[in-house]
Point group: C2
Chain length 379, copies 2
Amino acid sequence: MSKVYVIGTGMIAFGKYPDRTLADIGWPSLREALLEAKVKPDSLDAIYCGTALGGMLAGQRVAKVLGLSGMPIINVENACSSSSSAMAQAFNAISSGRFDTVAIVGVEKLTKFGGGTLPLEAEDWENRQGMVMPALYAMRANRYMHEYGLTAKQLAEVSVKSHDHGALNPLAQIRKRVTLEEVMGARPVAGPFTLWHCCPTGDGSAAVILASEKIARQVKPDAVRIAASEVTSGKYTNGYRDMTTAELTVRGSHEAYEMAGIGPDDVDVAEIHDAFTIAELMYYEAFGWAKPGEAYGLLSSGATSLGGKIPVNPSGGLLSRGHPVGATGMAQAVEIVRQLEGRAGKHQVEGAKVGVTHATGGGVAGFDHGACSIHIFTT
Amino acid sequence: MSKVYVIGTGMIAFGKYPDRTLADIGWPSLREALLEAKVKPDSLDAIYCGTALGGMLAGQRVAKVLGLSGMPIINVENACSSSSSAMAQAFNAISSGRFDTVAIVGVEKLTKFGGGTLPLEAEDWENRQGMVMPALYAMRANRYMHEYGLTAKQLAEVSVKSHDHGALNPLAQIRKRVTLEEVMGARPVAGPFTLWHCCPTGDGSAAVILASEKIARQVKPDAVRIAASEVTSGKYTNGYRDMTTAELTVRGSHEAYEMAGIGPDDVDVAEIHDAFTIAELMYYEAFGWAKPGEAYGLLSSGATSLGGKIPVNPSGGLLSRGHPVGATGMAQAVEIVRQLEGRAGKHQVEGAKVGVTHATGGGVAGFDHGACSIHIFTT
């Protein structure tokens, strides 16, 4: 099995681009990543595109703008983990020795739906009864508050930290700080969530170029390596009886740690799936950075802020950088690679050597079936 | 690299199931394939789902019905080659040694769109101007007729052959023979096509279980092997100047032949992408079974009918078995595996040892960018 390296990254500033087509949202990231990797179109063995709602042949439509054709182009859908699941397929293909140089692009245009929650599937009866994502996470937040005595004010601190980070990131959709009072006083969405507890909808794209050891040695000897690539499925929580444990992420993170041969304490920086404030706290625990019920203590200690022991979501995360569903996984990968290469700019985590990305979701089927993809990157 | 074998197949009769959910269309095939392979859910390393229009987390929704959870579930979209592209990802994952036992299910519910051509993407201006699939293929048919003197009556013979085969297949959507007069006298769609020149819309699912050499030796020592697994992208034709050459399939088939170490003459049976009558003839040439302009000669000789030298689409193909977009690739794989195992029933190709599947399409972006996936199976 060949080792797998990242030799290029590209990303556009996330935001709202209602007048651009999906292809026009996607191609600039792919082009930037290709230029950064100094890859010529001829030497690209495959393109994987992650999109949840981009429609048929999204990758082909993006590639067409750049005149890229003739290689396998594969579109992967896995809700919020679409592009990270796409990267996992590229990882397998390089590991197996089949491909040497592969591009992955994540792209989404949520503005085409005109706002609100995402389109529903007729068979998803929980969703149709009102269990849309904000409601689902709000229910989990209420349970967590009940179980562990977390207050709404403490929960709001997650949002403040996210926006502190996002304000430093020129690619973030929301680039301004918010105060605790602003978070708590904002328009209510689903108690205890106000608007600033929820990630925004928007458009975006991000891309990386992966390479085999053979290629990476030639073009970028110091390239960041992907030490673990993991996709799993399962319940979004442990069910109604234990809503505060993110079962999928617990299992996925353990498998990823094992693959990379590391443990929770070895992680220097992480981009995790903070679609709502409570998610960030639950995932601290799922990743083993805090014990059950103790996530707020980790947050309030400053450990997960820039300058702390393990900064989480230095990009601003989903809450501030934005969450165009299929693009999120690649935005996380771009952020972590740039962090490990020491070129993250104002939100740089000094000396980071091991980084984690985590995208999980279950846009349909409510609690019952979700997807989760976790990657571990090392210098 | 491990060799890859097929240890189970499953498929429902294609048709119109407007009252079933996508999940309820999908699970019976997956269950049948798992039972045939005698695979316990615990030993399934991953599930790949191919769907073009099934919506988010289609594979998870199908798996949920059967209580399958905890393994990676990956949804792959590549228009008409969605499930064959999904199988190619599973092939890579087994080749690399990462997985031993993987299920692939293709599933689609076209009846949810209420008939007619498929939903368009706003950016696909050719499609919006009327270059929908029947129009695109009709233009190619007219050009072929102009170039090579093919008549509408000769073209109609493709449909007659297809229905002769489909009438023998209990899983076909259209299980009745049609006469040449009936084909020519049917409702016009896009000249020279009448209704019977065009594949029907409908719903369906099909599934296969792939295994590594290690597992196949234990559970099915005589399992059919996948000798080549190929996905490519490119132009749907050679452009407006040479509409009669299927560039994608020419290139893809050559790559697949090379990977399998065989040539056109070694193929005993094939399931190819006859979405419209002209497609079957053009693909005879693309696969090297006939020289340019000579496909009709091959057809009229009886070589591609049951009992001939290289029966093509013994299942009835897209024209008669049906074409629920994302399910087609797996339906082809199920058919070819059962053919090579000698259990295809009334439409058995006697003594078939090498079989080909071929799914290609470009639902959007008209001529410019399509996907194509070709697999070669051997006893």
